[in-house]
């Protein structure tokens, strides 16, 4: 089965004066594939380039080298106007739901907006029906649709953002740290929602996060990213039980422990010496 999304040797750079070392390689020769209906988790710490990769896939930042192929068609060099029809199939859920919704528009208006541009055949009534149905699918009660973002909680807002991404019936979803800005007791709601949507709609998904435990819950395959490169790639079970790269092992060891005995053992191992891993920061 051909992969839905096929990224080959992608490189993304950000400009930086030559005096400081020349352009920063946020993404350095990354390859990955995502099949229909599967969730690929991309794990890494801040500055490793995972968000840049997500944006490059969606055509929001240009590639310095490499290709992005969607349904075996090259899309990374497309001009903005030609990319637009693709946006119906490739959608994005942002990290901070309060920032990714226009504060001056109601929830219903925000969810309807992609429909206007990407599904022009729909009438106004058709749009309203689709908005209502999608909001129901993500668990937002009808009366909240006419409210403004500042009147909803973080979890509700993220559901609305997911509804906005789903309204156009995409085949692929990039989720960029979708639960990192939410309270712990609410994170699970969104993770479970994404799992359910994947089951019901058969979407492909790239789930980007710094939280390995969350990714491990959802993903079929896991890619570990460090300083712009993929250092580990395998099925979820493989990566968790038999990691090959030392950075993956460090990540696994750093997952927070709630059992006090293991937690204290964890930090006892770090009692001396500076920060254990070299800084992952690339972009300043």
């Amino acid at each position: 089965m051909t992969a839905l999304l096929d990224v080959r040797d992608a490189t993304v750079t950000y400009p930086r004066p030559a005096a400081e070392g020349g352009p920063v390689m946020a993404v350095n020769g990354v390859s990955l594939t995502v099949e229909a209906g599967s969730i690929v988790g991309l794990v890494g710490e801040s500055g490793c380039g995972k968000s840049s990769l997500g944006r490059a896939i969606l055509g929001l930042v240009p590639l310095a080298a490499g290709e992005v192929r969607w349904r075996d068609r090259r899309i990374d060099k497309l001009p903005r106007a030609s990319f637009r029809p693709l946006r119906r199939e490739l959608q994005l859920v942002f990290q901070d739901p309060t920032a990714s919704l226009d504060p001056r528009m109601t929830i219903a208006e925000s969810v309807a907006e992609p429909l206007r541009a990407l599904v022009p055949g729909l009438s106004a009534a058709g749009r309203d029906a689709r908005v209502e149905a999608t909001l129901g699918e993500v668990g937002i009660a009808g009366e909240l649709a006419s409210r403004f973002p500042h009147q909803l909680s973080g979890g509700q807002l993220q559901r609305a953002c997911i509804a906005r991404a789903l309204a156009v019936d995409p085949a692929f979803l990039v989720c960029d740290e979708p639960v990192s800005a939410l309270d712990v007791s609410v994170q699970g709601q969104i993770v479970n929602l994404l799992a359910r949507i994947r089951r019901e709609r058969g979407l492909g998904c790239l789930f980007i996060s710094h939280n390995l435990a969350v990714v491990a819950h959802l993903a079929d395959h896991i890619l570990v990213m460090h300083r712009g490169r993929i250092v580990e790639s395998g099925s979820c079970a493989e990566v968790l039980t038999a990691p090959r790269h030392p950075y993956t092992r460090t990540l696994l060891e750093s997952v927070p422990e709630v059992d006090p005995v293991s937690a204290r053992r964890l930090i006892a191992g770090r009692a001396t010496g500076p920060d254990s891993a070299p800084s992952s920061r690339l972009t300043s």
Partner: protein, 282 residues
Amino acid sequence: MTGSLWREARDALLHDRLAMTCAVLLVLLALSAIAGPSLLDYREDQIDWSHVAAPPFEAGGHWLGTDRLGRDLLVRTLYGLRVSLGIALAATLVSLVIGVSWGATAGYCRGRVDALAMRFVDVLYALPQVFFVIILTVVFGRGPLTILAAIGAFGWLTMARIVRGQALALRERDFIEAAVVGGAGTARIITRHVVPNLLGPVIVYATLGLPQAILVESFLSFLGIGVQEPLASLGNLIADGAAEMETAPWMLAVPAACLVLVVFCFNFLGDSLRDALDPGDR
């Protein structure tokens, strides 16, 4: 929390007593300017030979006195207010429309569009306004329309700069990127997302720009290159009054007081609007 951000701002404003007083005063002044003259006995160009240069409250029904041609000062001041306010409002509206679209487009599009647009603004900024006005009056003759053009031609510059700054900051926000991901084109993003989210500062600066416009018009009319006799504006009324300052001080005091009151109220209201629209303490 109920209602939209606008409603919360309105609530904040309603609680600010001084701002409300200013708003009420402005409404009263505007109403007087529009309806007042028709309620009074005298017309603005009507000469009362028996009461030339008469002080206020003297017989003859001239409540605020007359000028050196025997014209009722109250009526002329109200007419002057009408003209000055009218020109200022129209000019501000023109500045708003041009300035907002110019600045929002420059700020959002960045790159060459921004560079070209703002260099144009910089060039116009460097021109001395009075000089330009004089040229305009030579070409188009003196009168309110020329003044309107002169004020409007420069008023939009500051608005464009302010709006551009706001747009530059706004375009980095996630919901703009979300709109791009949602397939929206540049025009739609600017009109539907950028402009509505910078209306707050725009309204504030428009409210603060109105008294500026009134002052410019008054100044030009005072110099004699603005509104011409027998048409009254606060500026030329003040010019007349200044000439008679020692013998008939009310001729200066009345239009000057009116000008001060209007400018103060607009400035104060603008400041309170800015505070009310500031989401800082929510």
